[in-house]
């Protein structure tokens, strides 16, 4: 913490963990031998998973679509090389809970034959911006910084919002990771071309490239490349995690804060990672879809740290084998950076669009202490880049008071892990926050489902009530008719002495029947009306009222019917007596 305090901060909080960049920062980008089998997940992005559009046994070519996007926020998945689909099934992936995912398993044929229909855009700088976006969408490009949000969406700002600044994220604030730095050093032209194309797609003029100043070579390379372009500047930033977080980078560079719950474009900024930008260049110039990425393989537990250009679907084990294997003292293998990555359960998990790093960590780097109670030291408040109160959020998450957790801005948490990094009690704070978010999400889904079934039940109830009423009305009418008939026949045969009482009894019966009928009709009409308005409006309150009215009507009806029956019985008895 001593180091961090001396550094100028451009945003609130943040931490400065040991960088360990020296392990791999001098390792040039290298390709790796073609793995025999690739496990390509059909969901490598934020949004809806892809639907597989190939079958087991199909031959596929490099760049061929094997998963079609299912929805707007989605992104296609392409075959990383040519080969045969041997299976499409659930397979382990780098998932925090160790869950599996639907993967297309491809036996590679070694020929690496491209699909020949892939084409770039001729003269893209004069093409329609929308055609560039479509090309990027079809190439399956997503944010390669780790969030994997479909890029074309970020290139289409909502109506009324203008992107005044394209901010290129070359910060790479996660310790260990060096693949973005190597990309900027070695493939500067690709990145610069991507910037031009993206500026055109966004119809924006200004661009700033943010790079932390622990990457002097990358800064120099980029500065040289944009020396005669006044609209593109490189901004060196002091090293501070999580400066590569979209909102933190925006604050560090523009001094503006993205409104809570809003988008970067609300402050006129669009942020893209350098690797994404390079992929955009490939897609627009050559029509090449996103099928590979740079992965930093590092950590004190790996024998030969490297920056590897790996195909999606490459099993982690192949990558580790390519880098000389794991050392004995490896305690943990992490996919992604050490602050936000996920630990792997199985080494068969594949490289995906979000895999920026693969870290073999030893006990020295990933030391573990037992969790102790929170002593409210407040370190987490000082470290939080969003100025949250992790103390209270953790308490409310752990005690499942999710409404309170939300009130303490749970959803503004970016899960950067700075709070847990500084916590002297070793409390897995981010874990609690994820738990709360997932629990709230699950409860909301359940509530929505319950709401839907409640509505359905109401509609059904109303219908049943209607039918019952119709039946009851019919029955009452029949009964009244019968009573009248009986009265007529009785008066024809009755003796004069009994006339008074019989007449009274008959009168009573008829009256009761009439009253019952009238009351029922009125009730039914009211209930029907209420039910109808409930149905038509679909309004919950109205529906509830209608249901209540129907229920009341039913009860009233039952009581009336019983009364009527009693009256009828009495009348009948009187009649019988008189007979």
């Amino acid at each position: 913490m001593g180091i961090a305090s001396k550094i100028r901060r451009l945003f609130h909080g943040g931490v400065h963990p040991p960088e360990y960049k020296d392990l791999s920062e001098n390792c040039g980008i290298e390709a790796m031998p073609m793995p025999e089998r690739l496990f390509v997940p059909l969901h490598q992005h934020i949004g809806a998973p892809c639907d597989p559009c190939v079958s087991v046994g199909d031959k596929v070519l490099k760049g061929q679509v094997i998963g079609k996007p299912a929805g707007f926020v989605s992104s296609p998945v392409h075959a990383p090389t040519s080969g045969t689909i041997v299976d499409i099934k659930e397979h382990t992936v780098g998932h925090p809970s160790g869950l599996t995912m639907l993967c297309a398993i491809i036996d590679t044929d070694g020929a690496d034959t491209w699909l020949d229909t892939l084409k770039g855009i001729d003269d893209p700088m004069n093409a329609e911006p929308s055609s560039l976006r479509d090309q990027i969408r079809n190439a399956g490009i997503v944010g390669l910084g780790g969030a994997t949000f479909p890029t074309f969406i970020k290139l289409s700002p909502p109506k009324g919002k203008v992107a005044e600044l394209l901010l290129i994220n070359g910060v790479e604030c996660e310790p260990y990771l060096t693949c973005d730095a190597r990309l900027m050093e070695e493939q500067t032209e690709r990145v610069i071309d991507g910037i031009h194309l993206t500026l055109h797609a966004l119809q924006t003029k200004k661009c700033i490239i943010g790079i932390e100043n622990n990457k002097p070579r990358a800064i120099e390379a980029m500065q040289k490349a944009v020396a005669d372009e006044p609209n593109i500047t490189v901004q060196a930033l002091p090293v501070m995690y999580p400066q590569g977080g979209e909102k933190q980078l925006i604050e560090a560079v523009t001094k503006k804060q993205v409104p809570s719950g809003g988008l970067p474009v609300d402050v006129g900024v669009i942020v893209h990672n350098v690797a994404t930008i390079a992929a955009i260049s490939d897609a627009i110039r050559d029509g090449k879809p996103l099928i590979n990425r740079l992965v930093t393989v590092s950590g004190l537990g790996i024998n030969r740290p490297a920056n590897v250009d790996a195909l999606f679907g490459t099993p982690v084990q192949s990558l580790i084998d390519h880098c000389g294997g794991l050392k004995q003292e490896t305690k943990r293998v992490v996919m992604g950076g050490p602050m936000m990555g996920v630990t792997l359960h199985y080494m068969e998990a594949p490289v995906t669009k979000g895999t920026s790093g693969l870290l073999a960590m030893t006990a020295k780097e990933a030391h573990e202490e037992q969790e102790r109670p929170c002593i409210r030291c407040g370190s987490c408040l000082q470290a939080c880049p969003v100025s949250l109160m992790p103390t209270e959020m953790a308490w409310f998450s752990r005690t499942e008071q999710f409404d309170m957790a939300k009130d303490y801005n749970l959803y503004d948490c970016i899960e950067c892990g700075s709070c847990a990094y500084v916590c002297p009690s070793n409390i897995p704070l981010v874990h609690y926050f994820r738990f709360a978010k997932l629990s709230i999400g699950a409860a909301e889904r359940e509530a929505r489902q319950a709401e839907i079934s409640k509505k359905r039940t109401k509609i059904k109830d109303a219908r049943v009530v209607k039918e019952q009423e119709a039946r009851a009305a019919k029955k009452a009418a029949m009964k009244a008719k019968m009573a009248a008939k009986r009265k007529a026949s009785a008066s024809a045969t009755k003796k004069p002495a009994a006339t008074d009482s019989t007449a009274a009894g008959d009168d009573k019966a008829a009256k009761a029947a009439r009253a019952a009928k009238a009351a029922q009709a009125a009730k039914a009409a009211r209930a029907k009306k209420a039910a109808a308005s409930g149905d038509a409006g679909g309004d919950d309150d109205k529906a509830a009222k209608a249901a209540r009215a129907a229920k009341a009507a039913k009860a009233a009806r039952a009581a009336k019917a019983a009364k009527a029956a009693r009256a009828a019985k009495a009348a009948k008895a009187a009649t019988e007596q008189s007979e």
């Binding site: 931490v15 310790p175 943990r332 573990e368 109670p373 407040g378 899960e415």
Partner: protein, 356 residues
């Protein structure tokens, strides 16, 4: 598919290395210079008091964890720190049973009945001191005059045991070896209608520098404001605490003291007097900054600290006790949850949101 023998945990996978034992040990180290000076000033009895409270705190903690069927928490050093802090608030010749009762009370009632470390409402050491002060006022207000441990008049080890364990001073008379603290002197004499100057300079030969250096009667840890302040500043430099509570607490006491002194210096002593006497510095750096029982937000810490200081000054000036730090901090401890709730920091992007 073979499961690796790798451990699987949630991110982040690296840690800054801070831990509760480290935090507690750092506080203990910060207290060491002032503690050492006190032992030198008051001799072996003071060391015995420190050992007694510390041990009774640790034993109580151990017993409670056994009863609660939990792993021992002695290794987090929080019980030891509580014992040390308690000792520093006690007179140097506190009888052994008062020390033990205080230590047991601090851990049992001050901490464990709330659920242990992190859950207590009051500063355990201070709530124990308040308890002792109310229950055993005589033992808690007998202030021996400092006797240099290396000097000719010092108590030998045997005498020290006798003093602490049986209250036996041998041939010495109590009046000869005890005296009032500066704060006590000020309250007692001004209460009799004397001016501050007469009360302090006339009878007591009060000297600011001497008091700041620790050469005056008082609690074990109250003696040297200078060394306590140095320890506190070291903790701030180590980023264990921030400046907010100590600075605001000291200002909360000496600003009103200064204003009243300017208005009438014959009735109200000067602000430096308030700063160097009693437990203000100990309280500001080591008691009010107790993490569990102080606010977590900077704004809240400033409010909390200032009110602690203000209450201290009010109690010292008009209260029923000559010294008010422990009461002030314990009273303010109860307000911490409220303060935290109303001083929530403005989150990233929140300002814009309200504008929209």
């Amino acid at each position: 598919m073979a499961q690796m023998s790798l451990n699987v945990i949630s991110s982040p996978h690296v840690h800054g290395g801070d831990s509760i034992p480290k935090v507690m040990k750092t506080v203990i180290y910060a207290l060491m210079p002032a503690t050492a000076l006190s032992v030198v000033m008051f001799g072996w009895p003071a060391l015995l008091v420190i050992l007694l409270t510390t041990l009774s705190c640790m034993v109580t903690e151990w017993v409670f964890m056994k009863i609660r069927n939990r792993a021992s928490t002695l290794d987090d050093y929080s019980a030891a720190l509580t014992g040390l802090l308690l000792a520093l608030t006690l007179p140097p010749h506190t009888p052994w049973w008062v020390c033990v009762v205080g230590g047991v009370f601090a851990i049992a009632v001050g901490k464990q009945i709330y659920g242990g470390l992190g859950n207590n409402m009051f500063n355990p050491a201070l709530i124990a001191r308040v308890f002792l002060l109310i229950s055993f006022p005589v033992e808690l207000t007998t202030w021996p005059i400092p006797v240099d441990i290396f000097g000719p008049a010092s108590y030998g080890l045997y005498d020290s045991f006798a003093i602490i364990f049986s209250g036996d001073y041998g041939s010495l008379s109590m009046d000869a070896i005890t005296g009032a603290t500066p704060l006590g002197q000020y309250r007692m004499e001004t209460g009799l209608g004397k001016t501050v100057q007469d009360a302090l300079y006339g009878l007591y030969n009060f000297d600011h520098a001497q008091v700041a250096g620790g050469l005056v009667g008082g609690s074990i840890g109250e003696t040297s404001a200078a060394l306590l302040g140095l320890g506190g500043i070291w903790m701030i430099r180590k980023k264990l605490i921030t400046w907010h509570i100590p600075v605001s607490m000291i200002l909360g006491c000496i600003v009103p003291a200064g204003l009243f002194w300017l208005a009438n210096s014959t009735v109200y002593p000067d602000p430096i007097f308030h700063l160097v006497t009693g437990g203000l510095v100990l309280g500001a750096f080591f008691m009010a900054t107790d993490m569990v029982t102080s606010p977590v937000t900077f704004k809240g810490q400033l409010i909390f600290g200032f009110l602690c200081g203000l209450l201290t000054w009010i109690i010292r000036t008009w209260g029923g006790y000559p010294e008010g730090v422990s009461f002030a901090v314990v009273i303010m401890n109860t307000a911490v949850p409220l303060i935290d709730q109303y001083t929530r920091p403005t989150i990233y992007g929140a300002v814009k949101k309200t504008e929209q």
